[in-house]
Every structure is written in C-alpha cells, then in structure tokens.
Amino acid sequence: MTTPRPILLAEDNPRDVELILAAMAEHNLANEIVVCRDGVEALDYLYRRRGFSARRQGNPAVILLDLKMPKVDGLEVLRTIKADTGLKPIPVVMLTSSREERDLVQSYALGANAYVVKPVDFHSYFNAIKALGIFWGDVNEPPPGLARTTANGCSTG
C-alpha cells in the first residue's frame, strides 16, 4: 500500500497547532502532518533546504497555510508557491483568523485553492479542521506528482 502524501501545516501559534492536530487525530487520517512554524520553514520544507535537505522528494497533498506568520507571512509563501511551476499544483488552503475582505481577495488573486476562517466556537473549529483533513487528505485526488513519500524533517503529528 502506498503511503498517502503528508499534509503541510504552516502555523505559528502552538495552541492552534495543538487544536488542529487534535481535530485531525479524531479522524485517524493516514496522512502524516508536517508542521512548520513560519513561512521560511515552510518554504525550506518545500524546497528541501537547510534542515529539510534530507527529506524524501515529493510534494505534500495539501498545504494548510496561516496568513499571519513571523518572518515570511502566508501571502508571501502563497505567492512563491504559485510562481513556481514545480510547487504550483499543490492545493493551498488558507487557514486564518481574518475575515477581512482584502485578505480573501488577495489570497484568491494569488491562486489559493480555498479560504477557511478559523471559527471561535470549538465545535465549529473542530468540524472545519476535520472536514479539511478528510477532503484534502482523503477525498481529493492530488495532482500527479512524484512518488508518494513519507517525509521526515519538520515535526510531525
């Protein structure tokens, strides 16, 4: 059986990371979840640079991308991904606190595949994350890429 491709989660807030991982865990997703804590790390992972040079080749099944992150923010990461022919096919889901219209507009303009506002309400939040995991990790057929791989590198959950 092939290993499903990992889900890349770029999120700077450890609490959000914990909540998201808890929600994902409820569904027992087969996908490995790679967590990067800022934009630089996320790009390093994607380009297999620095600490990620040893990871196996292959793009993640989906990137869950927070907007507001230290160093390089979500929009900048999105711009880089969508400008790179190798990374462009990876589905990117913006996962953010912001309901601001300009964030929505900018994200879609840069080629985001989905935009999800993190709800304050725990149950809604949990359900949204579960739905994301199920859809992008399981239901959605990812673009054909390199052989499905297991990543190591970033912390995994």
Binding site: R15, K68, S97, F122, Y125
Partner: protein
C-alpha cells in the same frame, strides 16, 4: 469697522474709478477752456492784423489824396477809392472780432467816427480840387488838418492794439495756469491711484496668501486624517486577527478539556466550562459586531437607487429562521425608492426588523408594521413599528449608542450594536434616526433619508 476682503477691494477700485472720473472731468473743462482761448487768440491776432490793415489803408488814402490835391493827377486817388470801398468792410470785420470786449467796441465807435470824418473831409477837398483847381485847395495843402486826423486814428489804433496784446498776454497766463493745474492734478491723482492700487494689490495678495495657507493646512489635515484612518484600519485588522485567536484557544481548550475529562467532571464543573465557552463566543460576536460597526464608518458608499419595497422582502426572507414558528402579522405599506448604498441600507432594515421580531417574542400575536411617514421637506421617512416590549422614553437617547442595551442579556440576546450601526449608516446618508416607545406598549423606529442624497 471690519470689512470683508471683497468690500475693501470694491472700495479701493471704486476710489480709483472716482479719481479717474474727476481727472476726466477736470481735464475736459481745462482742455475746453484752452481751445476757447486759442480761438480767442486767433480772433485777437485777426483783429491786430485788421487794425494794421485799416491804418495802412487810411494812411495810403490820405497820402494819395494829398498828392492829388497838389498834382491833380487822377491816379493818386486810387488808394482813396480803395479806402472808401474797403474800410467799411474792414471795420465790420474788426467789430466782429472784438465783439467780446465792450471797451474795444467803444474805441471802435470812435475809430469809425474818425475814419468817416476823415473820408468825408477828403471827399470835400477832392471835390474842391476837381472844381476849383489847385488854387482852391492851396490853403489846405499847407495846413495840418489831415495829418491831425490820421494821427488821431493812428493813436487810437495803437491803443486798440495794446489792448488786444494785453488780452493776449492775460489769456496766455491763464492757459498756462490752467495747464499747470491740470498737470498738478494728474500728478496728485496718479500718486493717489498708485497708493490705492498698491493697497488693493496688497489686500488681494494677502488674501491669496491666506487662502493658500488655509488650503495647505486643509491638505495637511486631510493627510493626517487619512493617516489616522489607515492606522484605524490597521488597528481593526489587527483586532480581527489577533483578538479572535485567544478566544478560539479558550473555547478550543475548554472543548479539549471536556473531551478529555468527560467521565471525571461533575455537573457543576461542566456548567463552569459551558460558561467559559459561552463567554468566549460572546466576546467573539462582540468583536465581529464592532468590526462591522467600524467598517460602516469607513467603507466607501455607493449611490444607487434602492427599492425599499424589494429590500424589505429580501430581509424578511433572510430572517425566516428567526420568524419560523412565530405568529407574526406583517403590515407592510408602500415604501419609497431612495438613493444610497444598498448593502448598508439592507443592514439598517435587517437590524430594525430583526429587533422588531426579537422584542415581540413574548407576544402571542406579534404585529410588525413597516411603512413610510411624512417628514420634513426634502426627506423621506420610513418606520418599523412593533407591539413588543417597548422601552422607557427616558432612555430613548441611549438606544442608538454603541453597546447600549435596555434589556438584560438573559431576556433578549444581542450585543447592543445594531441600532448604533443603523444610526451611523443613516447619518452617513445625510438622514436622521429617532424612536418612540412605551414600556410594554411597543416601539417605533424611524429613519429619514434626503430625497437628493448627499453622502456625508
């Protein structure tokens, strides 16, 4: 006395104009006088010439006549004949040219008499010579009579010439004085006009400088306002992002805790957790509402016709979940078409109608009336009336304030920002909001919109 810049300019230019007029009038009269003087001078010169002419005619006639008396030679009488034929005409001309001087006229009378006398005596002597020959006039030739008359004529003419010359001199002095006055007046007026125009120029320049300064200041304030607005926008953006995260974490960890400790928590502990969770959600709602309120004050407004009839139907549809299972009698009258921002006016109607639905919840039969009323000239008034719990008119002004509530939270939910949004939107449209109500007697909320919309 403080005059406006316009009045001072008008006064300045008015004075300059008055000076120009005075100069014009004075110059006109002076020039007219100069012309009159020059005509009079021409007449005087004519008179002087004529006096000389008369004298020489008379002298020539006298000389010829005396030669005739001596020689009897007919040809010597020619100057005499010329004198006889020309002198009356010359005298008439002289009378005309000296018509403006009584003294000269009276001298002319004497001159005329003298000349007539002289010519008459000459005529008699010539007749004597012709009839009686040289002997008849011998006594005359050696007498000095004729010479006396001519001398008298010469003297008189000299006197008249002197008089004319004196008049000429007087007139020349007069003209010179008048010209001098005119030049003086012109110089003075030019000076005054320069001063006036200078001060008007100063006034205008001062005014322009001031206006420029005000414009610069306004631009500066506009920039400051824009900067403040940008800051505010950054602030709300930050609030929207960062304030929600901790709330999400509170509720999230409460959720995790509930899941983890579901078997060990007792009823009381679960109620505490539920309260924490409820408070977090409520604060989330407050933040969202506040962001909407802030956006309402900054968002750009559209200006299109808004069909309120249609809009009310849409809002009713939107609120169908709140009205489901309720017994509500809707009375919706004809509503005007107004000008404004459709999304904002929609929010106004959503707030007012959902309030009406909310505050009639305790009524077995709720009545909600939406209609138009007459307002002040130039505005359209719309109202939403219900038979709900109403309010005390004492607190009417608090109704439209941000986070102002007149009911306890457990009675009616809501963050208390709806009516503040209504007021802000209506104000931005240039309209008014007000309300009437009695405790337990229902409430009516009004808003007006100008018929010619002027966005605030």
């Amino acid at each position: 006395m403080h005059w406006s810049i316009e009045n001072r300019m008008v006064a300045g230019f008015g004075l300059v104009l008055a000076f120009v007029l005075v100069i014009g009038v004075v110059s006109y009269f002076n020039t007219k006088k100069l012309i009159a003087n020059s005509h009079a001078d021409a007449r005087s010169h004519g008179a002087l010439q004529m006096l000389e002419g008369i004298l020489s005619t008379a002298e020539n006639a006298d000389l010829g006549q005396r030669r005739y008396l001596i020689t009897g030679e007919e040809s010597y009488l020619s100057p005499y004949r010329t004198a006889v034929s020309r002198l009356p005409e010359q005298l008439r001309y002289l009378r005309e040219t000296t018509a403006d001087s009584a003294a000269q006229q009276s001298r002319l009378d004497s001159l005329e008499k003298l000349i007539t006398k002289s010519l008459d005596s000459s005529k008699a002597e010539i007749a004597l010579r012709t009839n009686e020959g040289f002997e008849g006039v011998r006594h005359l030739i050696f007498a000095s009579r004729v010479k006396n008359e001519i001398d008298e004529i010469r003297l008189l003419i000299e006197e008249m010439e002197n008089e004319e010359n004196k008049t000429l001199t007087r007139r020349a002095e007069e003209s010179q004085a008048s010209t001098h006055d005119t030049i003086l007046l012109l110089a003075l007026a030019t000076l005054l006009q320069s001063v006036l125009l200078g001060s008007v120029y100063y006034l205008i320049r001062h005014d322009i400088t001031q206006r420029k300064r005000v414009a610069t200041e306004l631009r500066h304030r506009g920039e400051q306002l824009e900067a403040a607005n940008k800051e505010l926008e950054a602030f709300s953006y930050s609030v929207s992002h960062d304030l929600r995260a901790p709330l999400r974490h509170i509720d999230g960890y409460v959720g995790l805790l509930e899941k983890a400790a579901v078997t060990t928590l007792d009823e009381k502990a679960r109620r505490y957790l539920a309260t924490i969770s409820e408070s977090a959600k409520q604060m989330g709602q407050l933040i969202d509402d506040l962001l909407v309120f802030s956006r309402m004050g900054r968002a750009e407004m559209r200006d299109t016709p808004v069909y309120l009839d249609q809009l009310v139907k849409e809002v009713q549809h939107e609120l169908r979940h709140d009205t489901q299972g309720r017994n509500i009698a809707w009375r919706i009258g004809p509503l005007p078409t107004v000008h404004g921002d459709p999304a904002m006016l929609r929010l106004v109607l959503i707030n007012l109608i959902s309030n009406a639905v909310k505050f009639t919840r305790t009524r077995p039969l709720a009545t909600i009336e939406i209609g138009s009323a007459s307002g002040r000239p130039g505005e359209k008034v719309v109202f939403v009336r219900d038979n709900g719990v109403g309010f005390d008119m004492q607190y009417v002004e608090k109704l439209f304030g941000v986070f102002q509530r007149l009911h306890r939270a457990e009675e009616f939910d809501g963050t208390g920002i709806g009516l503040a949004n209504v007021r802000r939107i209506i104000h931005r449209h240039g309209g008014r909001t007000w309300a009437e109500g009695t405790v337990d007697g229902g409430a009516t909320f009004y808003f007006s919109l100008p018929t010619g919309m002027e966005p605030a």
